[in-house]
Symmetry: C2
Subunit: 259 residues, 2 copies
């Protein structure tokens, strides 16, 4: 009887241990889910800033001399393309990392229910087994045969339930390790895809910047200043009243000539 | 005289055009500076989230079976190393992109002062030239020689100032294009350095996750559960009063066994 009592204690310890293990996974997967979601959000914020940068570079390029204009515009095109890949990174991380971690909450809950049901059955059977043992000891004669049969059946049930419990625990552990490997592998793959694209795109973007011919642009802006002076000097028959309009035109021209 | 008058107008147009160009650069470099600073800030926030992730992975790994524990810990080590490179990215972008753009405000201000001084001189000289021309026309006889000399000197001054103005504009344009090429090249180089490191580190990190031997861990957790049961069944001489302490120990053990 002492032995059976200790057996029940051992099962209680196992139960607690398993429930602690499930709670532990529930807790840490929850934390991981939240932090990964934060990581994805910050990546999306970085993309937002990069989009602003793209727009500002386009706006500035439009006011510049031809070579600088083209160089900056091409850089902005490439940088904008990279932000599309960053958006894909965000979407993929959401779908392949955050979502599966979120789903884990439900999986863990179901596993815990399954585990609890099995443990309840196991405990009930163990008590039944202990009860029959007592009955047999108290009535060694008349109830012997019936008790012996019941004891045998109860023992078989307890063994089957123990095996089911072990399978439940096993499946939980197996799925957990597989899911972790899966989620982290997805994370790494998605990040690598983005970093690879970034290297490829920046390589092209670097050439766009390096190819800006500063001497040609300087020559162009020199010619423009001189041409402006010559043009104005040729128009010497204009009335003084036109001056104000001229001033407006010149200002407008300065802003629009490189667009 | 009409020709000189138009010349002055032309110069005024040039002046406005140049001042517009300087203001334009001032404006856009200011905007670029702010947005790049935002981009760097968001990158730093992403690193913060990644740091949280590193800590949480360490915390979770400490509660797991040996293979999963080592795999996750190694992944966290690599991922943490990547965050050091992200910090380097942040520091470099701050020093080589944001700071130079910030300094540009001062450079543009100095250039504008230089330009204004030159333009003032040029305008003053042009008026002097026009004045002398008038004087010569009004007094063609007695003041002829003096006026002619003064006219010649004033004309030389005006030419010299024009050349200085052209040089000032030229230097401004030259420095601007060089600085843009420099700043954007630095940006791309810094980003590429980070993305390259990321690819390298994730490649190693991927192996850490793939190498997690799930079967060995499952075997270990099975052995632990069985050993627990056997141990408890052997300790059958313990008093019932010890039960409460046993429960506490079992809970503690469940939390600490994989650490």
């Amino acid at each position: 009887m002492m032995l059976l009592g200790r057996g029940l204690d051992a099962r209680d310890n196992q139960t607690r241990q398993m429930q602690d293990a499930v709670s532990n996974v529930e807790k840490h997967f929850g934390e991981l889910c939240q932090i990964f979601a934060g990581y994805v959000r910050k990546t999306a914020r970085l993309r937002d800033k990069a989009d602003l940068l793209v727009n500002e570079i386009y706006a500035y390029a439009a006011t510049e001399t031809p070579n600088l204009k083209v160089g900056l515009k091409n850089f902005a095109d490439e940088f904008s393309r990279l932000q599309d890949y960053r958006q894909a990174e965000v979407d993929r991380l959401e779908a392949k990392v955050v979502e599966p971690l979120k789903c884990y909450g439900t999986i863990v809950k179901l596993k815990r229910d399954d585990l609890r049901a099995t443990l309840t059955a196991k405990s009930r059977e163990a008590k039944q087994l202990s009860q029959l043992e007592k009955t047999r000891q108290r009535n060694p004669s008349d109830l012997h045969v019936i008790a012996e049969n019941e004891l045998h059946r109860a023992s078989l049930d307890a063994t089957r339930t123990t095996r089911h419990l072990e399978e439940t625990i096993d499946n939980f552990e197996k799925q957990k390790i597989r899911d972790i490997k899966n989620i982290f592998s997805e994370f790494i793959t998605i990040e690598m895809l983005f970093h690879g694209k970034a290297l490829e795109i920046y390589t092209a973007a670097y050439q766009n910047i390096q190819n800006i011919d500063e001497n040609e642009d300087l020559e162009i802006s020199r010619r423009m200043l001189r041409k402006d002076e010559e043009e104005d000097e040729e128009e010497d028959e204009d009335d003084e009243e036109d001056d104000e309009e001229d001033e407006f035109d010149a200002t407008k021209e300065a802003f629009t000539r490189f667009r």
